[in-house]
Amino acid sequence: MDMLLRRAVAALLTLSGLLTLGYIGISSYIAEELVYEAPKAIVKAPASLGLRFANVSFPSRHDQIRLKGWLIPGVLSDGRLTVDRTIVVVHGTRTNREDPAAHLLELTAALARNGFGVLSFDMRGMGESPAAPLSMGNLEQRDVLGAVDFLRSGRLPFPELGRPRIIGGLGVSMGAASLLMAAAGEPGIQAVVSDSAYAEIVPILEREIAKRRVAPIGRIPGVLAPSALVMAQLLYGVDFFAARPVATVANIAPRPLLLIHGTADDYVPINNFRALNAAATSVPSAHVTTWIVPNARHAQAFKKTGAEYVTRVTAFFDAALGGDRSAVGAAA
């Protein structure tokens, strides 16, 4: 009896030890995969769409990561260039400032042709910006804040155009989430367009992790997802749990906010839009406009609606930021 009990205890210890070892080991592997993906190269530049631009580089706020981007002056109806109203354009995850899937460069160009200066940049770890952990907005909001600092006090190209009088922001997917979190604490961002933002990233990551496959074990059991997120925090300091625009979006008020979402978005389901809208409008001073795009998939609203998207967004920025007040400018 004594020997039997001893063996049972030994078996229990061995089993729990091996299971926990495997559990932690695989979770840390998933975490390692989750926090980084090789950057995608930029193929097209604004010049390919007939726009003048300059390559720029500026540090993120707080952690000083050197980000790369384009400053594209807006083109006024008389052909003059301007940066009087400049929009910070923020791309989504695992892409870059060109983002061919979302047609982001084309959208950027459309904003510029409608008289808005555009600062479009690669967030940390993506495009031409240096390698850095992917945190789904929690750290990336510092990049958006760095862009605002750059427009306010950095050494801008096109010195003849002066400095932006007023700054707005447009973000897509993770870019929208990062922008929402940045704008909540930065009053310098005077108007925000958020396209396909999530309310919080953890439920989406948990769902997506369970879809992944790892070579020796095949499809990853969903039970590993929460621990992978914890391991990402432990190993790399990436706090996915803090990527929650829904917690701070109300702080954007009274500044105008335009929320856009597609009804066919299966990556960031439309309940995220509803949660963000509810949170944003929970304060009396809220100034929120919404646009639900029928049958648009994730981050495809511009691709699907084209001119209508540009008309709505530029009308929103015109109302929120006022007209262009630049007195002089260079000819395009």
Binding site: L5, R6, V9, A10, L12, L13, L15, S16, G17, L19, T20, L21, Y23, I24, G25, S28, Y29, E32, V35, Y36, G125, P130, A131, A132, P133, G222, V223, L224, A225, P226, S227, L234, L235, Y236, G237
Partner: protein, 99 residues
């Protein structure tokens, strides 16, 4: 002192887990200047290496304790250690039952 001996595996588990976390934080701080790509690999490999070393040390502690476990209370403490060891996985399974 002998009365505390059955607690060795449990205390050892907590101490080793703490040590592993401290190791990871130190490696992260040291490798951070080399850029994130280096940091990512270094931290991951250090953690996996540390995990294996910690497992071996823990197995040795448990084996020693098993040999000395001659009372019911000391065996119960070993069972408690096994439960503590399995608790992260158990908690996750309880929160995410199989479909």
């Amino acid at each position: 002192m002998n009365a505390l001996r059955p607690l060795q595996p449990l205390v050892g588990l907590i101490a080793l887990a703490t040590l592993l976390i401290v190791l990871v934080i130190a490696v992260r701080a040291i490798s951070a200047n080399a850029g994130f790509l280096v940091e990512r690999q270094t931290v991951f490999l250090s953690f996996l290496g540390g995990l294996l070393v910690v497992s071996a040390v823990f197995a040795w502690i448990v084996r020693r304790s098993m040999r000395r476990a001659d009372s019911t209370s000391s065996r119960l403490l070993l069972v408690a250690t096994a439960l503590a060891l399995a608790s992260p996985l158990t908690l996750m399974l309880l929160q995410h039952p199989a479909p």
